[in-house]
Symmetry: C2
Subunit: 77 residues, 2 copies
């Protein structure tokens, strides 16, 4: 089954977060969003705004277009 | 002055739309959003959701990460 966009984004964010050994709470605090919002994103239940994509990229130490490239790759599977 | 994200996104979208010789109305119709929403985005007054980024990319015949790469490039100027 083709991944849906929200789900693919969530998978990418969770993977990057875990690579950096950050908790959802830490990612939320650094990104200045709510932890429950990070949880919703990681579970593929919400679309982020582009602002949040850029904020999360900064904390996750990846260029925004490289993050989106990972999402695109998942969507092609 | 460093571009802000909303403004950079608007510039990229408008540029791609004009390259394809589409009107705001045509882009809106194909993307299933309101023309006034396209206008707000192009003027840098709104953040799109990631869903809208993907929808616009499809109509503008560019991979989403390539579109975001253009935005990143503008933000670095």
């Amino acid at each position: 089954v083709k991944q849906d966009l929200k789900k693919a984004f969530g998978i990418v964010i969770k993977d990057l977060r875990e690579q950096l050994d950050l908790s959802q709470q830490e990612l939320a605090d650094y990104s200045e969003v709510d932890r429950t919002y990070i949880s919703l994103l990681e579970r593929g239940l919400n679309y982020p705004s582009l602002k949040v994509v850029y904020k999360l990229s900064e904390i996750l130490k990846i260029q925004p277009h490289k993050l989106i490239e990972k999402v695109d790759a998942l969507l092609k599977n």
